[in-house]
Symmetry: C2
Subunit: 370 residues, 2 copies
């Protein structure tokens, strides 16, 4: 499965895998795809260094990349305390009441909330890049708009391609103008932050909008048929995130989350502002229902909502409070029904792709030769 982009990056298959787990990223690259490590959780540069060292030792020399969360607009001199002070008391009380209703225990004294807003701040991402540019990464992706001009320049000087996610053609054109190399067209059905345009419509629209820049299709892809569809739509590869959440190599924090993912159908996700204040697709839970409840206070804008719920989510995850326990994931969760190795998932994708191509060739009246 070779496109100009996969050839440029030196990978066998134009399958890009985004994952927060180093073991999964390395396994994706070893299997012939392109593993991309999500860096948002590395607030300490040494932790990122440790995990990139591990990938280097385990990737068999195959190429890989890094995904950061770097806001396009710089927020100067705003501390976490400033943001905390903007959260209304009524919202804090709603979090307390909701947790109390489900009997969610408190954290131990001095135990930190796992997720902090700092992971989303530009300086943190810049510290991550200072670490990452010492490694032979081939791709730098940004999940939050185009990266700043100096970052794009620095990446290009190092021979690193820059990718950015887009949920609309307008958004994609802005990326192209900012000098990025690859657009990831993220459809409505994708996990995490998404727009409202579904992949079937979005992918060719973005392809046409940024031509000749290569586009990766993201959202709704978890089988070889879907890979073939995305490539038919004009993408130069696919960008898969959700599918790796249930692979055996994933160092998932919670067995309960894995069980929920394996059991969920395609209709069990919701595009909700409950997590960050911007619409993000995730498992629908009684927690997301509480934030979408017209009788509740509703969500706050980014970054307030994320800060408001950070400690609550840590408690829900730590104590595995099933009705409230969720995770970002796309509609493809309906196909994630067993725990398999990355290699087994890859074999399924590539074989399914070949079968889909065979089938479409028969429909088109072609007699293909290998």
């Amino acid at each position: 499965m070779q496109t100009e982009l996969s050839e440029q990056l030196g990978v066998e298959h134009a399958i890009f895998g985004f994952t927060p787990f180093p073991a999964v990223a390395a396994a994706i690259s070893r299997a012939g795809g392109f593993g991309v490590l999500g860096a948002v959780r590395y607030t300490a540069p040494d932790d990122l260094k440790r995990d990139l060292d591990w990938i280097e030792a385990n990737v068999d020399g195959k190429p890989y990349g890094l995904d950061v969360v770097m806001p396009a607009k710089k927020v100067e001199g705003v501390t976490e305390a400033d943001v905390e002070a903007m959260i209304p008391e009524g919202h804090r009380q709603y979090v307390k009441d909701t947790l109390a209703r489900y009997g969610v225990p408190e954290l131990a004294e001095g135990e930190a909330s796992g997720w902090r807003i700092t992971g989303w701040m530009e300086q943190v991402a810049r510290n991550q890049l200072d670490v990452a540019f010492d490694y032979p990464i081939r791709l730098l992706a940004n999940a939050l708009g185009s990266p700043p001009v100096d970052v794009v320049k620095r990446a290009h000087e190092k021979g690193v391609l820059v990718a950015a996610l887009a949920g609309s053609a307008r958004h994609a054109r802005k990326h192209a103008e900012a000098g990025i190399d690859i657009v990831v067209a993220q459809g409505y059905e994708a996990g995490g932050h998404t727009g409202e345009i579904a992949s079937m419509v979005l992918t060719p629209e973005v392809v046409d909008a940024v031509d000749p820049l290569p586009v990766l299709a993201a959202g709704g892809i978890g089988s070889g048929r879907q890979v073939a569809a995305a490539l038919s739509l004009g993408a130069q590869g696919v960008w898969l995130g959700s599918l790796w959440l249930t692979v055996t190599e994933a160092e998932t924090h919670s067995r309960a989350v894995t069980r929920k993912l394996l059991a969920a159908g395609s209709g069990d996700t919701v595009r909700s502002r409950a997590l960050t204040g911007k619409p993000a697709r995730q498992l629908r839970t009684e927690w997301t229902d509480a934030w979408d409840d017209p009788n509740g206070p509703g969500t706050l804008p980014m970054p307030l909502q994320g800060l408001l719920v950070a400690e609550a989510l840590t408690r829900i995850q730590k104590y595995e409070v099933e009705p409230l326990l969720g995770t970002p994931v796309g509609q493809i969760v309906g196909r994630m029904n067993s725990e398999r190795s990355v290699q087994a998932v890859f074999d399924d994708l590539t074989q399914g792709f070949e079968q889909a191509v065979d089938r479409v060739n028969r429909i088109a009246g072609r007699v293909p030769q290998s």
Copy 2:
């Protein structure tokens, strides 16, 4: 573009076109596809008879079908007056106030509202079928659940295939159990009534759920690349509705609606209950905004909402009140940027399909022969 289903129906291309306009349906069949006439607006059997006669005279002997709106559950002894009486006064006042705010003129005395609930009632659909079964229709589609068992039986006795729309795998399995022959998997991005699962995820899910029944993919399809994608996903054909709204053969009531469709982007639709009480994708307008406004009374359930707004929609259309004027349409509206003949649209679809197959074959390393 030949699948088992297109061969069974004797059409050249596995492209099914749903349209309320006889001239469009006939042109689709003449172009080598399968035209399906939407019957919901034919409350008088003689009108349907007149238009089927016209199709017969203009379809060059090519096969075509009919789409009815037949509720799965029978509602006995309920008149339009009974339903009218269930509409709260506050909602009626909200309609009046909204129309007044935009200065929408009244209808002339005795002038009927164009759309009546009767078109959605089982007896009306049965009267339509009594007419249609005298014509050599090859397919009967139902937009509202599985048709009643006796209707499926009657169709099969006449050699007519029965299709039903589904927005989820569960829904599709119910159709299969009801003995229908074809499932139309209608994705989130489609125009009209839709569920929440996008075509990229829904199509293969429905294909697997009802195998070996053939599935047509609907939603987000308006180019050859999208046709290739849908067939890659396992569909035996595509079902296109929105795309024909702006063809030159369409007897559109309103030039203003056509102008709005040609100008709209993929982000200019909304899935709203404003039209019928069930979520249906349509152009976003100040009218749909008024019904989605948290300060308004909100929508009523089907069939109350449709009856509540029927006269208002007739007035908005008649006087072309631009800010309020909309129509059901899918996200593919972003590609509907010029008025072309059905044949030109068809040529674009089939040539684009061939190019997409060429491209995917190159990616797969195949050297296809014609």
